[in-house]
């Protein structure tokens, strides 16, 4: 009986926690399906209205911005390119950096690694001036490349991959060598498949990181053509229901990527064990 009470009590706390997180989101979603005059008169709504298609379609296709050059659809496209680019590029560079640090006979490899690692202490905001000037000199302002490259070196991902490689037994490398694998083949045939689950985890992490960027895209793009979703959240004008609809839609890509990749993530974990 006491067990029932304590477990009900902890469930109650959990339920309250969930409600605190979910209710505001639900209210935004419910409100985004009403007309704006309804919201203006009656405040936020708890129940669904019947303007869902109308509102969402309008937001997606409406020509916004100061020069009316950008639609929400294009922002999603830009954000997707940027987030995917950051995710793939940072995972690839970290994989290769960790490989070199662990397997090549580099003098002071540990020191080099810690130098890479302390870049965590230097966030983009701190180095934004020099980074911008480099991008400007390379003529990469207002380009996808300029959006992606400066935030695509991840010390954390390098740390994870390095620690993982260090646990791979040396015999595996030696055995592969005797089987005729060169350094590149060992990387592709062994380390990448073995770190598959970690790669997926890092892809999710870096995708969300890239998607959430606000300050850097704001600085490096002057053309509305390159606006991203997170910038759009700030720049969006229009009626309240349309902004709510846009907020709801902006949450979809990160959630989607987690749902889609988590399947592989879990599959990978269980297959190897």
């Amino acid at each position: 009986m006491t067990r029932f009470i304590t477990s009900s009590f902890s469930h109650l706390i959990l339920l309250i926690g969930i409600l605190i997180m979910v209710v505001p989101v639900w209210m935004i979603f419910a409100s985004s399906t009403h007309t704006s005059s309804m919201i203006n008169m009656n405040g936020l709504q708890m129940f669904l209205g019947d303007s869902f298609y109308e509102n969402y379609l309008r937001v997606l296709l409406y020509q916004g911005g100061f020069f009316k050059e950008i639609t929400a659809l294009k922002m999603f496209f830009n954000s997707f390119i940027m987030a995917t680019g950051v995710a793939i590029l940072s995972v690839v560079t970290s994989l290769m950096a960790a490989y070199a640090l662990v397997y090549y006979r580099i003098k002071y490899a540990t020191l080099l690694f810690w130098i890479i690692f302390i870049t965590i202490l230097v966030p983009l905001e701190l180095r934004i001036f020099p980074t911008y000037s480099v991008m400007a000199e390379l003529n990469l302002v207002n380009s996808y490349f300029g959006l992606i490259v400066p935030i695509s070196a991840s010390a954390i991902a390098t740390l994870f991959f390095r620690q993982f490689y260090k646990t791979v037994p040396d015999e595996l490398l030696e055995s592969a060598k005797l089987d005729g694998a060169n350094t590149w083949r060992f990387f592709v045939d062994f380390l990448i498949p073995l770190s598959k689950t970690m790669i997926v985890a890092m892809l999710i992490f870096m995708f969300v990181f890239g998607y959430n960027q606000y300050l850097w895209p704001l600085l490096v793009t002057t053309s509305e053509q390159y606006w991203t979703v997170v910038m759009g959240l700030k720049m969006m004008s229009g009626s309240i229901v349309h902004r709510f609809a846009f907020v709801m839609m902006s949450m979809v890509p990160p959630i989607l990527i987690i749902i889609v990749l988590q399947k592989y993530f879990i599959k990978g974990v269980f297959q190897d064990k």
């Binding site: 015999e171 060598k177 005797l178 694998a181 062994f190």
Partner: protein
């Protein structure tokens, strides 16, 4: 020149440790050579130098008439079985076997045939689609051997491959390795610290200590005729008994007995070695043993006890003799089978 030739091979690690001292050795084609020695004696280092996994500090290694000092391991055409098998955890058994062949650009049908042949030979055909994590220790061992066999290399290298198996399986795999090697006929080097493994597997045996080959020969030669104190103590189970002694005018006095007319001109401090199995009970005895403990193995009894001066001593007798704890035994050395070593250098002197 023989098939594998090591000439004055030396290994010095960057920190200055000398693991292998100017070792010279030849292995004939099809021969099963075993390196045996205590851990840290340099036997694995020597093997890994043949494989190309360790640089050679000095000296030459020739394989099949070709100098391979600078040849990359992947080009040496050697196959190695590691202590922990080093199977590829993310590949199934088939791909574990096929990987080396794929890297050599062999076409698919040939690979399939070779893999299936090797799998049949090792009786692992049923597991080809499984991952290594789903196999038992013995099966993994077979896969590791299959990976070596399938490539048809010039030489097999075994680095203590049986030490992760339980005792029963180890004996079984030992037999299988020997049979397999005879069937396939590939030159092999096997590294072990277990002298029973060494004795049973080897065509020839190299006893290594402190980076030096102490003695090289067939197992029986080494057992019958150890050239140094180390070899005498290392080969043979239970270990040879050693007694301190002194030689003067061809008479050896040790403990409480004397042996006259020994076959040596050496004079001075010596160690007398007697194998437990070269003793028998008799009336006019040399050695008096007070029994502390009897280990009954069925076929044999191992009798442990002490001599007059409290020195530990072991005697091996047939299992049908009953010997009680606390008994006094009078023992004689059969057929003068004793070994005398110079106490200061450890060299055999008789």
């Amino acid at each position: 020149m023989s098939f594998l030739d090591l000439k004055n091979v030396t290994k010095i690690y960057p920190n200055g440790t000398k693991a292998v001292h100017e070792t010279s050795l030849s292995v004939d084609e099809g021969e099963f050579m075993v390196f045996v020695g205590p851990s840290g004696c340099g036997k694995s280092t020597l093997l890994r130098m043949v494989a190309g996994l360790e640089d050679i500090t000095e000296g030459d290694i020739n394989l099949d008439g070709k100098l391979i000092n600078e040849v990359d391991p992947s080009e040496r055409d050697v196959a190695m079985v590691f202590q922990n098998y080093a199977l590829y955890p993310h590949m199934n058994v088939y791909n574990n076997l096929a990987y080396g062949l794929k890297n050599r650009g062999i076409d698919k049908e040939t690979i399939e045939q070779k893999v299936n042949d090797a799998a049949k030979l090792l009786q692992i055909s049923d597991y080809l689609q499984r991952k290594p994590s789903m196999l038992s220790g013995g099966q993994r061992q077979r896969v590791a051997m299959g990976r070596a066999i399938v490539r048809n290399p010039k030489i097999f290298l075994f680095d203590e491959p049986l030490s992760n198996l339980d005792a029963k399986l180890r004996i079984q795999m030992r037999l299988e390795i020997k049979k397999l090697q005879q069937k396939v006929g590939v030159t092999s080097i096997f590294v072990t610290h277990d002298q029973v493994e060494a004795m049973t597997l080897a065509d020839r045996l190299a006893v290594i200590n402190n980076g030096i080959i102490e003695q090289l020969g067939t197992p029986i030669e080494i057992y019958d005729n150890p050239k140094s104190l180390f070899v005498a103590g290392f080969i043979g189970s239970p270990q040879m008994n050693f007694l301190d002694g002194n030689i003067k005018n061809k008479t050896l006095s040790a403990e409480s007995f004397e042996i006259k007319d020994i076959d040596s001109d050496f004079e001075g401090e010596v160690k007398l070695g007697i194998r437990p199995e070269h003793l028998s009970q008799s009336e006019n005895s040399l050695i008096n043993l007070k029994v502390d403990l009897v280990e009954q193995l069925g076929s044999d009894n191992l009798v442990y006890g002490q001599l007059k001066d409290k020195k530990d001593f072991c005697y091996r007798c047939p299992g049908n003799l009953t010997i009680e704890k606390g008994a006094d035994l009078s023992l004689n050395i059969e057929n003068n089978k004793y070994y005398i070593f110079d106490k200061s250098t450890g060299k055999r002197v008789n």
